[in-house]
């Protein structure tokens, strides 16, 4: 029924018109949600699609590098899989797009395969910070008092520790005789990252827990665990999610820094950080060794940071 349809205006009885209004109220568009609103904002932004494209590219690079790298058979190398020392440190060319590394291996393949380790570290270190941060922050914010003091002072203590010094200490403590593994670096980064998440999540829990619907849930018999996870978590988690996406980019840089300092990943693994640290000494002779992993690192970090920014603007009501 439209305003320009006089027949419908005159024809419909009051009840029928009311019914139509109710139906329209219920059926026009899908029910809007907090997340639905965020999606509406996100899908109209080109920066969101760009960052999504970057993230999808790098994630698929990490999962199936074969999609991006294929052997290039040559006259000396019918399989296309071998490295020739005679070809070491060649600049980019048509046969080796990104040139070759010190071993004479194709650098494009190296950089592409480096995505896996770098992203694993980023993803799992972030996961550790989020899980620990939300658990401790939730407990501190919800229960307050002694629990809050304990958690907050613990977080303050970790904050007082400079990041790199802390990582050096943790990594030397975790390093066994077999040398460092990926998980040790991941744990070390996650271990030092949680206090920021605790502070952030605790503060949003403090806001949310005093809202009436949380009180109402308690007045209707919900248990503490149910209130913390069912009623508070979905309403308090958005800022934390956004912060940690931004943090993902930072974690990749931290892994690179640690590897650059020689306390990061084991020397035989392939990661952007290790490539950058090895290329540093040869920057004058072979700048491409630094350029390509550096570029990938920057673009991947940028992808996560941009995504984080977009999510923040979509989820934070102050930006709407």
């Amino acid at each position: 029924m439209t305003d320009t349809d006089p027949v419908a205006e005159l024809d419909g009885s009051l009840d029928a018109r009311d019914q139509a209004r109710f139906d329209a109220e219920g059926l026009v568009g899908p029910p809007r949600t907090y997340w639905g609103d965020a999606w509406l904002i996100l899908k109209g932004r080109w920066l969101f699609w760009v960052s999504l494209g970057i993230i999808v590219t790098f994630v698929s690079m990490a999962i199936v590098p074969q999609l991006f790298v294929w052997p290039s058979p040559g006259p000396d190398d019918p399989s296309g899989l071998f490295c020739f020392l005679s070809d070491a440190r060649q600049p980019p060319s048509s046969s080796h797009w990104y040139g070759t590394d010190v071993q004479g291996c194709d650098y494009y393949a190296q950089v592409t395969h480096g995505a896996r380790v770098s992203l694993i570290v980023a993803l799992f270190a972030t996961l550790i910070t989020v899980i620990v941060g939300i658990l401790l922050g939730g407990l501190a914010g919800y229960y307050g008092g002694g629990v809050d003091s304990l958690v907050s002072r613990l977080a303050d203590g970790f904050f007082a520790l400079p990041y790199l010094v802390g990582a050096i200490v943790v990594l030397s403590a975790l390093t066994t005789q077999e040398g460092r593994q990926i998980w040790q670096v991941t744990v070390a980064i996650g271990f030092l990252g949680w206090p920021a998440v605790v502070r952030l999540y605790r503060s949003t829990v403090l806001q949310v827990k005093n809202l009436e619907y949380v009180q109402a849930a308690r007045a209707l018999g919900a248990s503490d665990a149910r209130i913390i996870f069912r009623h508070i978590l979905p309403n308090a988690v958005a800022p934390t999610l956004v912060y940690t996406t931004i943090g993902m980019g930072a974690v990749i840089s931290v892994e690179a820094t640690l590897s650059f300092l020689g306390i990061g990943l084991p020397i035989n693994s392939i990661s952007w950080g290790i490539m950058i640290s090895e290329a540093g000494t040869r920057i004058e002779q072979s700048p491409h060794l630094l350029f390509f992993p550096g570029l990938y690192l920057i673009v991947a970090s940028l992808g996560f940071v941009l995504m984080g920014e977009q999510l923040r603007e979509a989820f934070d009501p102050r930006f709407r």
């Binding site: 109710f22 809007r32 907090y34 619907y213 209707l220 009623h231």
Partner: protein
Amino acid sequence: MSVTESETITATEVWSPVDAGELLLEVEDLSVAFDTNDGVVQAVSDLSWELRAGETLAVLGESGSGKSVSVQAVMGLLPMPPGRIAQGSIRYRGTELVGASNSVMREIRGPEIAMIFQDPLSGLNPVYRVGWQIAEMFRFHRGLSKREANKKAVELMDRVEIPNPGVRARQYPHQFSGGMRQRAMIALALSLDPKVLIADEPTTALDVTVQAQIMELLTQLQAETQMGLVLITHDLGVVASVADRVVTMYAGRAVETGTADDFYGAPAHPYSRGLMASVPRLTGELGRLYSIPGSPPSLVHLPPGCPFHPRCTYAIDVCATTRPQLEPVDGRSGASACHRTAELP
């Protein structure tokens, strides 16, 4: 979920059905204090009231008179610290609730005593569908399947007169108007058939026509279920139409108790008289609306004697030195805390 199901079974077995007129809730000599940096705030002092099945008790008082704090104490929702129950007892059908364990309180909140809040705008969780939130009560407390719970939720939304409940159940709180949200809150509170419903200023945030509808709905539902209703309000108009008995609070104390008829016919306490005099009337001469002179005392430094004496037009010397106790009033069932109850015109 197996843990919650076993909780459900104990919760429904402990309490027997309510007899007509059974004494449900007793608050006796309740004192609630808040320890603040400025000193101890006596939010509630020596408050006593009781509630029977099928009865509506109105707790009346202005902001800061302790009416909300007293029901928060009943529900075990006081923020502790800084709040604490300094003395007194709260009994639900004989079971002491002061100092009761969390698990006992959880069994009582919801299926026995439920509460609706002042602000329906924030009383529903914004991230869940309204129907889901009501159905959650059936799943969580009654162990119903998802399908059954959803069906009961829609039935209940129909019962609180939400139009198009099937469609409305799938919507989110921000798609509801204020009145509809309060109806949804009522549905949520009534989902477990509570024996006592505490309504903390249920209509304050709504506009006048909706207020009337909500009060009508509450009275109608109460008549159907025979639950006890505690109505916290500062709105004398709301009280008049529904209350059986009235407790008037001032500065954390009950200053007058009695039947609603007595209260509206001839309030005994000077404060109640002041309240009644400050209600705008549709008849009679126009003029400035009466207001009680002065402002409520600080709960940290209560005046000695009667807390109302600095504002009372009937005050005599003894009012400034001796605190009046609630004394029965001649010819009625109520009581008034005033030294001059008998002499007042």
